[in-house]
Symmetry: C2
Subunit: 392 residues, 2 copies
Amino acid sequence: MPEAHVVGAGQSDFGAHPAESYRSLFLTAVEDALAGDDGDEPLSPADVDELVLGTLGVGGRQLGLSAAAAATHVGVEGPATRVENACAAGGYAVRAAVRAVRAGEADLVLAGGVEVMNDLSESLPYWLGVSGETAYERLAGTTFSGVYAQMAAAHMDAHGTTREDLSRVAVKNHRNGARNPHAHLAFECTLEEAMSGPAVAEPLGLYHCCPTTDGAAAVLVASDAAAADLDRPSVRVAGVGAGSDAVGLFDRETYTSIPASRRAAERAYEAAGVGPDDLDLAEVHDCFSIAELLAYEDLGFCEPGESGDLLASGATALEGDLPVNTSGGLKAKGHPIGATGTGQIVELYEQLLGRAGERQVEGARRGLAHNVGGSGGAVVVHVLEHEEGGAA
Amino acid sequence: MPEAHVVGAGQSDFGAHPAESYRSLFLTAVEDALAGDDGDEPLSPADVDELVLGTLGVGGRQLGLSAAAAATHVGVEGPATRVENACAAGGYAVRAAVRAVRAGEADLVLAGGVEVMNDLSESLPYWLGVSGETAYERLAGTTFSGVYAQMAAAHMDAHGTTREDLSRVAVKNHRNGARNPHAHLAFECTLEEAMSGPAVAEPLGLYHCCPTTDGAAAVLVASDAAAADLDRPSVRVAGVGAGSDAVGLFDRETYTSIPASRRAAERAYEAAGVGPDDLDLAEVHDCFSIAELLAYEDLGFCEPGESGDLLASGATALEGDLPVNTSGGLKAKGHPIGATGTGQIVELYEQLLGRAGERQVEGARRGLAHNVGGSGGAVVVHVLEHEEGGAA
């Protein structure tokens, strides 16, 4: 079966951009991906066979056919398809692009993600809730912070996880985000600050929650032949795995794990022929701090209940054995819903090619991206590899 | 490259079902597809590797992650993904399922479509408009009937097409729909009735517009190996083509053709190695009567401007050389947005296996399905084949 390769990746600044539209943000990301770095062969929209757009469509500006509208705006003439799996829309867009290539139906596919969230004061609570289970969560008044707070409380109860553990996620990710020129909240914070933020949904405080972010990201996925023809470095898509589950937390087998993450990771590891010990870095879905801790356990970085200790040991810090969320993660880089999963692939691409600047993981050759929809109704995991690695 | 085969297809009744939910309607369609006809090997949800759901998500009951929620409800445990391309969502869901199989990543994929539209009195106008271009169409007050009315007026002006031509589409499709036990408007109408309906958007009257329909459809797509292993007949997916364009009609090169239909059809014919003369029947996207006439021309059934004559000749009637919309089409079978494109594949499957009852096209071996998003921002065309044909 043909393989797929990432041959370009770009993004807009993540942040609050009330004067931008989904089209203007997406165009910025696409132009960045097509241009490449100094020395890369530049590409044009006419080189792109297809577009897949991941977006929740917050605000409904162009709720239907937004992929086609975005394609027209950036100059792509081939078929355009929108994929939506809530906060995992962007990761599933990359997966669809990989499939188009692996099915032999396209040589160069643009996978993108975009969300505009900061000019929606009245309807934002609705839009933030629509990916929760409707009947027993959203309409009953539960918010996403409320759902993740239940997971945090359950993990604390089962494993002795503490608010300090949750806060260390924020400290680490803000430290990384401060080294990312595209991050929304590019400042460092102390453990004391992270501990003392106002409550959002107990036990989660302000520093345990990601911000409301506008942004776009774009990834170019190529076939073997197209990647070989281009005068650009490429990163191989070694494995992709996806998993789904009940949308409502109350309907799942456990509150202290996201089973769909486990299933997606198993499939991705198997497809790539590797395991967690073979990774050099990972971008994981830390919409709330507890989610990063759960990811450590669900992705096999440690045993259940040991994520707090793994984090405290420094293993997942920028200088650790397995740096996690070098981009700043959703916490500090930001969480523009549809753009988040695609943005994770952008970070891996830059790291594996040695283009990550101040946050470069030296010699990084293999990275994992973990993107969660809702509270775990849909998860997608990608494993990317580059033979020379980030020291190149 | 592996091929893909339709090994099952089912649907709910199309109609006004205010007491049903997207889950209950979808379950009906899935159970119908899994059960098969008498003599078919029955399948279970556990046999399904993945689910792709096409829906616009009208009403926002479960706007995010509806694919995962639907998967849980019908008992599918594998990855679930939502695809949205407005009224072409269901056709694009089938396309995604075919790709999953052709990429070697799944052996049996359930592609479904669903929409619940009849308990939305307050927000329905918004939802019906969200797939129009936002800035210059929807927010300026243009409706879909208004956009298609502009296309009809332009076609009348350019080619002398008449209201009688438009009305003959309704007469033909209602005649077919009256023979379809799943149709929403299963009654016949006379040319006089179709001509005299109240105006909706001049020149389009009531009988030139599809109804507001609830419904679901489901198609099972299998790999070569899985299809061969099953004790069920299968229909080969000979070719798939997709095309996109500007979402706003005002932004396109022509009002008298849907260019994305031409591009999608060209690709599908090329992939299947056939042309329009090789077809035995077609389901085309007749959301408004003018759309069926445009489809005849864009799909190559006749030259530009000759669609009215082709229809009047009887060639596309049930007994004609190329029966079109044997199901009743969107006009009489109904148009539950996300379910429409999947439902077209259900009709082809039944026709090619000789299971279409009173509306059976004798000896049908090759059929085409044409599914349009919005006013032509995204189109997908499938060509399906069965060696023995509908006389079996």
